[in-house]
Each structure stands twice: as structure tokens, then as C-alpha cells.
Symmetry: C2
Subunit: 99 residues, 2 copies
């Protein structure tokens, strides 16, 4: 899908790829830190499950609309958020056993 | 745009609206807390500027693709992230003056 911006014919998807790069990689340092330190204390279980479910539905939405930027960046995000969700659930269950 | 899922004809946008609701409202408690307490200490300036720029480009992308779920939820997110960006920049400038 092409559009003319300031006399330049550009593919709209480029805007989607730049947007996705910014929003996905903005949170990367924090995500990598949490994964490395396995420190899930500052992330709530409700947030993690809600957010990861939302990302999965955005992925379904992107596939159904054949919208590549949405597909690419939700897959990338899920590659981080699924392990974080797993660690958070494991962490929560461990704490419940101890209490 | 319609699709048949488990013999039901549904509008794909519904999936986008559910996805957007989950990802946007998942982070709401944290955003409201930061705005109320005006405590920007746990948010980095780089993250805020990168993320908010990304949201703005997703909004442009949604408008160009005439994709309502993307438009709606990026506007909603920006309604939180723009004030947070403003507060974070103000906070950072104040600290630089003091040092």
C-alpha cells in the first residue's frame, strides 16, 4: 500500500516497521534486565498475563489482516513476554508454596 | 473485514479492539500511579521518548491504513504517555539545574 508524503511515494509498511522498532526496542533493556536477573518482583502477574494475551490477539489480528508490521513486532514482543510470563507464574507458585 | 471463526462470521476489528483493550489497560494502573505520584524515577528518559515516538508513528500508520483499532488504542495510549513524557523531561531539566 503506497502513499505520497512530501512528494515521496513511500510504502506505508515502512512507517509500521519504524513504529514497531521504536515501541518494541524501547522496552528491551528493561525486559532483558528482568530476564537476566530473573527478578519478576516489579512486574505484577495480572499485568503480565493481560499484556501477553493482548499481544497474542494483536498477532491474530495482524495475521487475519495480513498486516506484516503488526505480525513481526508482536512475534518479537511475544519472544520476550512469554518467558517473562512463565518465570512470573513459576515465581508466584513458589512463593505460595512457601507461605 | 469479516472472517469465519468456529462457524461464526465475526468482524476482524473486534479482535483488534479486544487486543488493544488488553495491552492498553494492562499498563494503566502503573501509568496512573506514575502520573498521580508524579514519580518518574523508575522510567528512563530514553524509554519514554522512544516509546512515545513509536506510539505516534503507529497512530500515523493506523490512519494511513484506515485501521480503527490501531487508531483508537494509540490515541488512548498517547493520552497517558504524552503527559508522562512532559513530566519526565521537566523532571530531568530540574535535576540538571540543581546539579
Amino acid at each position: 500500500m503506497m502513499v505520497i508524503i512530501m512528494d515521496n511515494l513511500i510504502d506505508i509498511s515502512i512507517i509500521g516497521y519504524i513504529a514497531g522498532t521504536l515501541t518494541t526496542f524501547a522496552s528491551l533493556p528493561q525486559l532483558i534486565k528482568s530476564l537476566k536477573e530473573k527478578d519478576m518482583s516489579n512486574i505484577s502477574l495480572t499485568f503480565v498475563i493481560t499484556f501477553t494475551t493482548g499481544l497474542s490477539l494483536w498477532l491474530v489480528y495482524g495475521i487475519l489482516r495480513n498486516d506484516y508490521p503488526i505480525i513481526v513486532f508482536n512475534i518479537l514482543s511475544l519472544m520476550f513476554w512469554i518467558p517473562i510470563t512463565y518465570l512470573k507464574i513459576k515465581d508466584t507458585l513458589k512463593k505460595r508454596k512457601l507461605s
